[in-house]
Each structure stands twice: as C-alpha cells, then as structure tokens.
C-alpha cells in the first residue's frame, strides 16, 4: 500500500478555519515532494458539505467521519473516532492544524496509539528519504529540525501562518468522498462540553469615554470602589483606576490608566484619592478638565488639576453624587 498523508481538517459550524487550509497547502507540497498519497478527513456530525468542499481541492480522497456523538466537540469523542479510523487506514503521516482544539485532543490521540507528535511546526524538509519538521525555539531565535523515531503513523501539527491558505491547489475533478460512520460506545465520552468559549466582549475602551472617574489608593478598601462607581454612573462615565487598585485586583487591569495601562484624554477626568505619580499622570494629562480630590494638599496631582479639592473623598463624593443626580433630574 502506498504511503499516505492524512490531513485532519477542523470545521466549526460547517466552516473550515484558515489554519486548516494552510495545513492542507503544506500537505499538498509535502505530497508533491514525497510522492505520497494525500487524503483528508473531516470529523463531525453532518459535515458532508465541508467534506465536499475539501474534495474540490487536489486530494486523492476525503473521508467524512460521522457520528452524532461528534457534535459538539469533545476530546474523548474525537480521540475515539480518529483512533479507530487511523488504526484501520494506517496512514504514514497525520497532519493537523495547530489550533486550540487540536492541542486539546491530539496529545491524547498520539499517546493512545503509542506514537509521537511534533507539534507547532513551521515547515518540513524532506532530505534523502528522511522527513524532518522545523520547529521554533527560543521564541523564534532558533529553528530546530526534528525527526520521528519509532513506527508510523507519525503525527505533526502546523503552526498558523506556516503555509498560505490561498495556495491550496484545486483538483481536476472532485475527489471521492467516503462517509465513515464511526460507532462511539456509550460511556466513552466523559467530557460534558459547555457552550463554546467566545472572546470576551471588547474590553472597556477607556479611550472613548468622555467622563472618567478614577480611583487611587485613597479609596482605602475594595468595598469603597462602589462609591466611585455610583459617581461614574450618575455622571454617565466610566470608572478607572491607578496601578495599586488594579494591582490589588479591585478593578480589572483594563481599567488601569497610566504608563503600564491605558492613555486617556476624556473631557472630564475626576481623580479620587490619586496622588498623581508621574506613571499615572502620563496616562491622563491630556484630559480637557481634571478635577482632583485628595486629602494631601501637596499631592502632585494638584499640579495638573484644573480644580483641586483638598479634603476627604468620603465626605465629598456622597453629596456630589446626590447633586449630580439632582442636576440631571434622575
């Protein structure tokens, strides 16, 4: 039987991701150089369309590995399906894109088959019948050529950007798609997937805020942040902080203003209990109006404040909130 390269592409909601196309392009190059047969596999439930899409490319054959238990994705399910499939087909090389999902299941798959894995490769070399994969070391300062020991099948993953997805060659005629229905016994899948992780909503963009109420160490305790938040809400602004507050975890890092945080230039910047170290000031000195409340009359923040209020913020802020509400009629 001819040596075969099997590319396992990754689909989500019926769409292939970019790295899968890139990996396919790399696999096509590798197949051309080695003369090995190139096949692809799509894993999921009802992913025939994706398989057909891949079949339009220059591949010998596409397997549509199907089971209702493969949707949603679980590492146990994918490993069970691919393990039996690979054991049966005995490809020489299994290539996958280096995605979060692949990183999740492929170590387990390789281990289950007692085979080794070269992950996160940026390319391959085929020299004198020996296949080497290139990996980065020392954050890209070095590259190392790595080869497999032991028996096939060999497992490798390609890093995003290693090949160009738009270089995937089309096939002359569509390749054959073979549907493989895998049986996954009950109890094999122990994982209980939750809803897929979505990137958190864009972190707060303080640079767009017109009014910022910012707190420093003078706020004393975490529970007092609420007071500043009420003022920010009353004013229709955002809450921000100097480094010690975020460092203590009282507010998230994306609300930190200063040299190690964000640089802001709102219409109004209200600094509550902020001493005004230069590290903070460089992040907010562009504000149109700065009002600073601090009990230390020598606090450097007053040097750049348009309105300097020397006093205890806990005496000043609560009535201020009331006045703002009154003025706004809320």
């Amino acid at each position: 039987m001819a040596d075969t390269i099997l590319v396992v592409v990754e689909q989500r909601e019926g769409k292939l991701n970019r790295v899968s196309w890139e990996t396919l392009a790399g696999a096509q190059a590798l197949a051309a150089e080695t003369g090995w047969v190139l096949e692809a596999a799509v894993v999921g439930s009802g992913v025939g369309d994706v398989a057909a899409e891949v079949a339009a490319k220059k591949v010998s054959k596409v397997y549509d590995i199907e089971s209702s238990k493969l949707e949603p994705y679980t590492p146990d399910g994918f490993v069970a399906a691919l393990k039996s499939f690979i054991e049966e087909k005995k490809p020489k090389l299994v290539l996958m894109p280096h995605t979060y999902q692949v990183r999740d299941f492929v170590p387990k798959l390789a281990t289950a088959l007692h085979r080794s894995l070269i992950s996160d490769a940026i390319g391959y070399k085929y020299e004198g019948g020996k296949l080497l994969f290139t990996r980065q070391m020392f954050q890209g300062k070095f590259v190392a050529d790595v080869s497999f020991t032991g028996d096939a099948p060999y497992f490798a993953t390609f890093q995003s950007g290693a090949y160009r997805g738009d270089k995937v060659e089309d096939g002359g005629a569509s390749a054959r798609v073979e549907t493989v229905n895998v049986a996954i016994a009950d109890g094999v899948i122990r994982n209980k997937p939750e809803a897929p992780f979505k990137e958190a909503k864009q972190a707060v963009d303080l640079t767009q805020a017109e009014i910022i109420v910012s707190v420093g160490r003078g706020i004393k305790e975490q529970k007092n942040i609420e007071l500043a938040q009420q003022l920010a809400t009353a004013l229709g602004g955002e809450i921000a902080a100097s480094r010690p507050i975020c460092d203590s975890g009282w507010l998230p890092m994306d609300r930190q203003v200063g040299s190690s945080g964000q640089t802001v230039a709102p219409k109004l910047y209200l600094a509550l209990g902020i001493s005004g170290a230069i590290q903070h000031v460089v992040g907010m000195k562009g504000a149109h109006s700065i009002i600073a409340i601090n009990k230390d009359s020598e606090a450097p923040i007053f040097e750049i404040a348009d309105i300097a209020v020397v006093g205890n913020l806990f005496d000043i802020v609560p009535p201020l909130i009331e006045e703002v509400k009154k003025a706004k009629g809320t």
């Binding site: 070391m137 020392f138 300062k141 890092m253 040299s259 190690s260 450097p300 040097e303």
Partner: protein, 571 residues
C-alpha cells in the same frame, strides 16, 4: 498572599546541548564571547582539517535588548579593550576622552578641592562612555562573529550533577501572578552545557546559587557592596566639558558612611552623575536615592545643575570588597567573571576593564577545553591560574586591603589607605578582615529617633520636580517595564518577619534601600503590627540591593520573566 517565582515543578522542558553558555551579556560576557570567537577563527584558519564550531556557544541576556540592564558611571580604562580589539578606539562609541579631573571634599555648604588628584583617581587616558551604548556595540561584534545572543532569556537556575555544573535552566514564560501557566506558557529550556560562564554582574543570582552550593565563600572575606544611584542630565552648554571628571567625598554622607559621587561630562551636554552609598551603613532608615537628591541640593552641585533637565535614572549595586572577597572563579563546569566574581578596583572605582579582561581569560580557557575536547576540572581550573598570573591580580593585589580599611568608618579608612599606600598595599596587617555590610545595620532602638547626624538622608526624598525627585518619579525615568501578571521575583522566605519582627526592629529598611519603590508597607488588618509588606515587583531595576542589604537575609532576588526590567538606553 504573595506568590513568589520559582521554576514550575513537574513539567517537561525542552533541552538543548551547548558547548559554552555565557550567562549575562554585559562587558564581561560579551568580551568572553568575542575573544572565544577570535580564538576559534584563528584555530580554524590554522587547522582547516579540524575546525571548531561556534554554533553551540550561546549568550543569555535577560534584557529585551542587549545593554538595557547595563549601568555604570562610566569610565573605561582602555587596557583590556586594546588587547581585545587593538583598534577599538576608532570605532567604539566613546563619549569623550578624559580631559580634566578634580576631587572635592564636600561639607554641608562648602567644598575643598584636593590640591592634587590622588593617583588612583587620575583618569587621563581613560574614556567617558555610556556602558549601554558600548555594550550594544560589543554585542554587534559578537553577533557578527557568529555567536548567538538570546536576548529576553534569563538564567533562572543552575543544573547540577553532584559536584558539577551541568547547565542552565532559562526562565519559564507566561506564568501568572498565582504561579499558574497562562495560555502563552512556554517552559524554560534546559541548556546542557560543557561549561557555564557566569557573567551576571553584581550579586548574580546564579552565582549566588553556586557560591551557596559549593561554599565558595569559605575562607574569604564577605563581599561588600555599594549601591550606585545615577541620573543622566542634560545641561546648558558650557557647564561641564565633555571628558571632565569630578569626584566628591563627604556630604551628604557623614563620617559613619562610606561613599561618594561622580560627575562625568559626556558629549552633547549630557552629564552622568551619581552617588555610591556603601551598603554597610548603620541606620536602616538611610535611603540611597535620597542621598543622591541631597547631594544635588549642595550649593556646588545645585549651581552646576541649574536649569538643566534630568533625562534618565538608574541604580545598580557594585561589589567593592576587592581581592580577599573574590571566590574561587573556576570549577567543574563553571567559571565566574567580572562583577559576579568581584573584579573591581574600589580605589579607582573601576571594574569594566577588569570584567573585560576576566572574560578574555575565561575565553582562552574555554577555547583550550574546546580544542582539547576536554572540559574537565583540570582544563577549566586553569582560569584561576590565568587570573592570578594576569594584570588583574597585579592591579587588585596592592589595593587588597583598601576597602576593608574603611570597616570602622571614614577617618580610620583614610588612615589605613595612607599606610597601605606606603607599604605596597599591606597596611598594618597582611589580611584585613571585614564584616558583611548588612551586619552593621543597627536596630531602631539603638538610634536617635530623628536620625541624628543622618537626619537629612533618612526616609524618602520629597523632590521639587526640578532639581530633586521623589523615588517614584525617578523610577519612571528608568524606563522599567515588566509583564505585570507574573509571580513576584523578590522571593521573601518568610513575610511574617517583615510584618512583625522587622517592623519593630528595623522599621523595614527595604522600603528605604530599594531605589525603585518595590517594597512598601501597607496598612493591614490581620497582622499584629497593622502593617503588611507589599511588593511593586514591576518597578524593579534589577540592582540586587535587597538581596544584599536585607538585615535578616531573607530576600532572594531571582530573575523575573525574561525581557522585563529597566531600559538604560544611553545610560
């Protein structure tokens, strides 16, 4: 709860074989790499049949960019550079040749100029340099010679096998505040090296590990250190000539403390000024950053700096115990260079030329080992002999007792220095002893509440924003940046000592001696003292003072995630 940095346990680490690993890309490490490349090139020209490879010689540098953590005055005695690159003066970035020098003794408001400059401080023939720019240039030579420099990688621990150093483990990257791997986690590498050359600078963290493991400080005087706090100023033209050198002794220090200031004129009206405070003072409230601020308030200095602008800030410890404090510098699988070993002439206040020379001698030793394919102790141990036969010893031997003479203060120090001057360095006895600096620190109960004579240099400087600066402002000008979400790299063995005993006994000197405001005592409800230590680890300028001066010796400085630290561009 503060989580402290340590290499993550039980993880698989990539390993890499190396011939030579040099830890630290300062003048010593770069000179070592360059000399080794030269020797290999010569060898390969003579023995084309049996060439040696430079491919497996690596320099680890924890700074993001070479030179970014290098800080010194700096004056360069060209002696070793002329040996390394005879033509270096025509191409190295030298600020100015020294044209003029003066030494002053300062009283609170006055000054006395020494009628003649003491011979050790005569600097004609030396150069004012920016060590940052100089080392960057040296690094370009090293890379051009085909040796790989890994910037952004710190040596986090040495790998041992019984009595031998096997290699270096680099820092784990992508570990969060709680010591858990983040999504970008990358384990440190285990670099298995035939020889590890430690060129970490003053109080190197791996050097400390090595000295501890093999008790290399046995039968040596304890190393003594100073902390140099430096500001770079831009002055109106004509104030200080390029190549002008001024040293001062005295104010703001008193007879109780050891130290002094330098002012060096560089080009483009830039002036390097700084103050070295001996890390053997008694009052735990003394603040070396404040010492520099008070120095600038002296009428002589204030006038010099008037209408100038401070442009950069930095601080670094320096080892000036001299010959008796230098540990064995070679052993099974290792060598120690430069400031890590203590090659510094405290009388001349110079160490760069010795660092470079030690790097060259280590390179010769490493080359021998490569040529013979024998990295045994027999071959590597020759580094020790090379140092003792070189002009390093010739220069350090006559001043072997110099700093120790100051163990009992300034006046007795001047007396001993005088006697040593006329007895070839011997002085009143063959081998002066001394104490480790931190042991001289006194508890608050033994000191005047207002600081007495030292009242003007204790506790934090306020700063007027023009001539003087508070610590946090100065730190801003050091350009220091670290990944914020990582474990604290100032490893405190037992924070209860900070929060209870030290509050009582010494009043937490860490917050005073640290020149970067890393250490703070904040209010706490759950400690008996009502105070609790808080670390602003991302302010750290890597000076190592805390590791040296903490009176309980419970702070260990370890490298933070590689790439973080000060940015001493142009310093």
């Amino acid at each position: 709860m503060i989580v402290f940095r340590k290499p993550l346990p039980n993880i698989e680490r990539p390993t890499m074989e190396a011939d030579v690993v040099i830890v630290g890309g300062g003048p010593a490490g770069m000179a070592c790499a360059l000399r080794l490349a030269q020797l290999i090139d010569d060898h390969n020209a003579k023995h084309p049949d049996a060439p040696l490879s430079k491919d497996n010689i690596y320099v680890l540098e924890k700074a993001r960019e070479v030179g970014a953590h290098c800080l010194s005055g700096a004056l360069l005695d060209p002696r070793s550079m002329l040996e390394l690159l005879p033509d270096f003066e025509s191409e190295a970035p030298l600020e100015a040749a020294v044209v003029k020098e003066a030494v002053y003794y300062l009283t609170r408001n006055g000054k006395f100029k020494l009628p003649i400059t003491p011979p050790p401080l005569r600097d004609h023939g030396n150069y004012v340099i920016s060590i940052n720019r100089f080392v960057k240039w040296l690094a370009s030579k090293v890379e051009a010679a085909g040796i790989t420099i890994f910037t952004g990688f710190a040596g986090s621990e040495l790998l041992f096998e019984k009595g031998r150093v096997l290699g270096v483990r680099t820092d784990d990257k992508g570990v969060d505040k709680n010591g858990e791997p983040k999504s970008n986690f990358e384990p440190g590498y285990d670099l298995k090296a035939k020889v590890v050359i430690l060129a970490e600078g003053s109080r190197g963290s791996l050097t400390k590990q090595l000295i501890g493991r093999f008790q290399l400080d046995h039968e040596r005087n304890p190393q003594t250190y100073g902390i140099g706090v430096k500001e770079l100023w831009e002055l109106p033209p004509g104030r200080i000539a390029a190549g002008e050198v001024i040293y001062t002794m005295g104010y703001p220090l008193t007879f109780h403390e050891y130290g002094g200031a330098w002012i060096y004129g560089a080009h483009s009206n830039l002036v390097s000024l700084g103050f070295v405070t001996g890390l053997d003072y008694a009052d735990p409230r003394i603040d070396p950053q404040r010492v520099l601020q008070e120095f600038k308030k002296h009428p002589f200095i204030a006038k010099l700096l008037e209408s100038g602008k401070m442009v950069r800030y930095g601080a670094k410890s320096l080892p000036y115990g001299g010959w008796w404090c230098i540990p064995p510098v070679a052993g099974d699988g290792w060598m120690i260079l430069g400031d890590s070993a203590g090659f510094l002439n405290s009388q001349r206040l110079k160490g760069i030329h010795l660092a470079i020379k030690s790097g060259m001698l280590a390179a010769e030793t490493a080359y021998d080992a490569m040529a013979k394919a024998d990295f045994s102790l027999d071959v590597l141990g020759k580094f020790q002999e090379r140092v003792e036969k070189s002009w390093i010893k010739e220069e350090l031997w006559p001043v072997r007792n110099f700093h120790q003479g100051f163990d009992k203060g300034f006046l007795s120090g001047m007396f001993h220095a005088g006697v040593q001057q006329i007895t070839g360095g011997r002085g009143l006895k063959a081998h002066y002893s001394n104490h480790a600096g931190h042991l001289r620190m006194k508890q608050l109960s033994h000191l005047p509440a207002d600081g007495g004579d030292d009242s003007h240099i204790i506790n934090a400087a306020k700063g007027d924003g023009k001539l003087t600066f508070d610590k946090v402002t100065d730190v801003y000008y050091s350009g220091t940046k670290h990944e914020e979400d990582q474990p604290a790299h100032l490893v405190i063995q037992d924070t209860d000592i900070c929060n209870e005993r030290c509050v009582r006994e010494y009043g937490n000197p860490c917050k005073n001696f640290c020149p970067a405001n890393v250490y703070e005592m904040v209010e706490a409800t759950d400690t008996p003292s009502g105070l609790q230590i808080h670390l602003n680890a991302s302010n750290c300028v890597h000076c190592k003072t805390c590791d040296i001066m903490d009176p309980y010796e419970i702070i260990t400085w370890v490298p933070p995630e590689g790439g973080g630290g000060p940015n001493y561009e142009g310093m």
